[in-house]
């Protein structure tokens, strides 16, 4: 017997025994799987690069985003003639602007660089608000169930039928109204001032917050409902643990995976919403550059100076690609079951 134990095959040595596997939690495991997904890695690298551009925008940009040089309006560098041959007959050449100058002579490259700040802050703040409000709302609804659940979910149903865009436009009309300037000292005045200081970001964020949490609340509720009936929750109840603690220590960690995935996949939507609002003139206040507003400005002269719309459009599209690839990879790594539903 002893001889047998000593000569056991090399494959069964201690290093291979299940007990001594390197311990990995869910997130480490998911991260390893994420790194194997080439598209997701590319997306992640682009997102990191964009973050660097946004952080160091003042070093990368070659001139201030709001510096107007009227004599230089619509000037383009020489190579634009090769890209857009139709421009050759009337183009005014200047090598000062790598991607050309816009209709008031501002450098498009620098404005795109600064514009990344807006899009990326939306990409960070949007999910945070949506997670914060939606998860709290959804878990209360799902955890308590019964009449509370019914009432809370009917409210979400009504909001669902309400066009989200209307909320946002009304919000802008309420706070940025031109006829009735708010008096100092009121909440409206304080918020309008803060909004103006943030270049118009505040109400976009509030607008996203008002409309984006509903889906999150529904998903959270569904997840909570499915976890609530599990034995370990019953055990926690039996041990007399408080509702709060059960919710935050036992239920939430078990449902956070799908929530993170859904939120990551929603990021391109938030970026597009900001660009869309700025495009229709209800978003970022000029002269703060937003890609959406730049596309809107450029679209007006797309027949003569296509470069003014196409470069910000490319920046927006690349950012959305990157987030989509990253979100897809995260989903496959973390919650493969969600595949196809999102």
């Amino acid at each position: 017997m002893t001889a047998q134990t000593e000569t056991k095959p090399a494959g069964l040595t201690a290093s291979r025994s299940p007990l001594t596997y390197k311990r990995e939690n869910l997130w480490q495991d998911a991260f390893r799987r994420l790194l194997r997904n080439r598209a997701a890695v590319i997306g992640g690298v682009i997102v990191i690069l964009l973050a660097l551009v946004a952080i160091f925008a003042n070093l990368i940009a070659i001139m201030p985003y709001d510096k107007q040089t009227l004599p230089d309006q619509n000037k383009v560098p020489l190579y634009m003639g090769k890209l857009f041959p139709s421009m050759i007959p009337y183009m005014k050449v200047s090598d000062k602007y790598p991607l050309g100058a816009d209709y008031v002579g501002r450098d498009i490259f620098s404005r795109i660089v600064y514009g990344s700040r807006i899009s990326l802050s939306i990409a960070i703040i949007g999910p945070l608000i949506s997670l914060f409000v939606g998860v709290i709302y959804g878990s209360i609804s799902g955890y308590f169930g019964g009449r509370v659940d019914n009432l809370m979910m009917r409210f979400v149903d009504v909001l669902y039928a309400f066009p989200g865009l209307l909320f946002i436009i009304l919000l802008m009309a309420f706070f940025r109204s031109s006829f009735a300037d708010p008096e100092p000292g009121t909440l409206r005045f304080a918020l309008s001032q803060l909004d103006a200081k943030m270049g118009g970001m505040l109400f976009i964020i509030i607008g996203i917050g008002l409309t984006a949490w509903e889906t999150m609340a529904r998903v959270t509720r569904g997840q909570v409902l499915s976890v609530r009936e599990k034995e370990f929750i019953e055990a926690a109840h039996a041990l007399g643990i408080s509702d709060n603690r059960i919710m935050f220590r036992h239920i939430l960690p078990n449902i956070i995976g799908p929530l993170v995935v859904i939120e990551t996949l929603a990021i391109p939507g938030y970026i597009a919403l900001e660009a869309f609002l700025s495009f229709i003139g209800l978003g970022i206040n000029p002269p703060t550059p937003s890609w959406g507003a730049m596309i809107a400005d450029g679209a007006r002269s797309i027949r003569t100076y296509p470069n003014q719309a196409i470069f910000p459009a490319l920046a927006l599209a690349i950012t959305m690609f990157a987030f989509n690839f990253l979100g897809d990879g995260l989903r496959d790594a973390l919650e493969p079951r969600l595949r196809g539903n999102q």
């Binding site: 009504v158 039928a161 309400f162 066009p163 109204s177 196409i310 927006l316 599209a317 690609f321 196809g340």
Partner: protein
């Protein structure tokens, strides 16, 4: 089923009532009225105008007036007098009786138009655009999804799903100007803006003729609007088809020697399209109501711009009309999907 539908219809009316109440409160909470200008009007004129549109009445009376005009059907022997005050969307003449319903009232920003005029003249355009975008989404999305699923993990699959990611990643405001520039300006293949149909419309929403003259205006906007949805459909089709072909009854069909083509078309596809059908409803509502930017980019005279201008102009009847219309589209689409779901999947019972 009948009871279920009745219950849902009652819920639908309740939702619309709540939406109208929220809209009413919000629009009156926003400072400024339709007659506030940079240079204020003389107070007498403003008071007269407000009386003309019943804006001088207390709020509860204004809301009651709205409910009476829009929500409650009227049955009278008197024909409507044809003024812009009594323009009913539903105006049926049965014998000596007139059945009148849904008078959204005159618009404030125009002296001669009513909200119902906007519905009759602009809504069909958005509706046509929405339908065509939907067709683009289906005709592109479903075949792409099937191809990707049947050739899973091959070049087709990767290319198809890559295309789908491109589809969801390019927003309308990027794709629109890009297409205008390429096909409208550089290649001069398609008109960069405009719409090929004008009122009156056949059956209230169809153009008078379906020729190249009509479609050449619609091709670009329909593709721009439908591409994102086609990507969603493609991914969903692929995922469900992959799930279905692993089911036992597919193995049965194969093992009894059925031709592979028939296994896919007759057995697998039919069941895998159920979830796809159910997303089409909300998607259609989103496409019809989401035409706003596409209309802006392509200069299409649709509903979309009223949605924004009505709010900035404080044109209360138009705000109410557009919001209720959009809400109606959304709730009806969801109802249709739920009913369709029970019909397509007999395991589901609503009672």
């Amino acid at each position: 089923m009948g009871r279920y539908i009745t219950r849902r219809l009652i819920a639908l009316i309740m939702v619309l009532l709540v939406v109208s109440a929220i809209t009413f409160v919000l629009e009156h909470a926003v400072p400024g009225g339709p007659f506030d200008r940079e240079k204020p009007l003389p107070p007498e004129i403003k008071a007269n105008l407000e009386r003309r549109y019943h804006l001088d009445e207390p709020y509860w009376k204004q809301y009651a007036r709205f409910l009476n005009d829009v929500m409650i059907p009227h049955l009278t022997t008197q024909p409507p007098d044809g003024s812009i005050e009594s323009d009913y969307l539903i105006n049926v003449h049965i014998g000596p009786l007139y059945f009148l319903w849904m008078n959204f009232g005159p618009t404030i920003s125009s002296k001669t138009r009513t909200v119902n005029d906007i519905f009759r003249q602009q809504l069909p355009v958005s509706f046509q655009l929405g339908i065509m975008a939907m067709m683009v989404a289906i005709l592109l999305g479903i075949p792409l999804g099937i191809l990707a699923a049947l050739k899973q993990n091959t070049m087709f699959d990767y290319m198809g799903m890559g295309l789908a990611i491109i589809g969801v990643s390019i927003p309308v405001i990027v794709l629109g100007p890009l297409m205008v520039w390429i096909f409208g300006v550089e290649l001069k293949l398609l008109p960069p803006s405009g719409w090929g149909a004008t009122p009156p419309y056949r059956l209230g929403f169809l153009p008078q003729s379906f020729g190249w003259e009509y479609f050449k205006y619609a091709i670009m906007p329909a593709i721009v609007l439908g591409l994102g949805s086609s990507a969603v459909i493609a991914r969903l089709t692929r995922a469900t088809l992959l799930q279905v072909v692993r089911e036992d009854y597919i193995r049965t069909a194969r093992s009894k020697g059925l031709e592979e083509r028939l296994v896919i078309t007759r057995h697998a596809l039919k069941n895998s399209l159920i979830p796809v059908v159910t997303v089409l409803g909300p998607m259609f509502a989103a496409l019809v109501t989401g035409t706003f930017v596409t209309e802006l980019i392509f200069g299409i005279p649709g509903m979309g711009r009223y949605f924004v201008t009505s709010i900035t102009n404080r044109d209360y009847p138009v705000i109410m009309g557009t919001v209720l219309l959009y809400a109606f589209f959304l709730v009806v689409a969801n109802l249709v999907v739920d009913i369709l779901y029970a019909y397509l999947d007999p395991r589901i019972r609503y009672d």
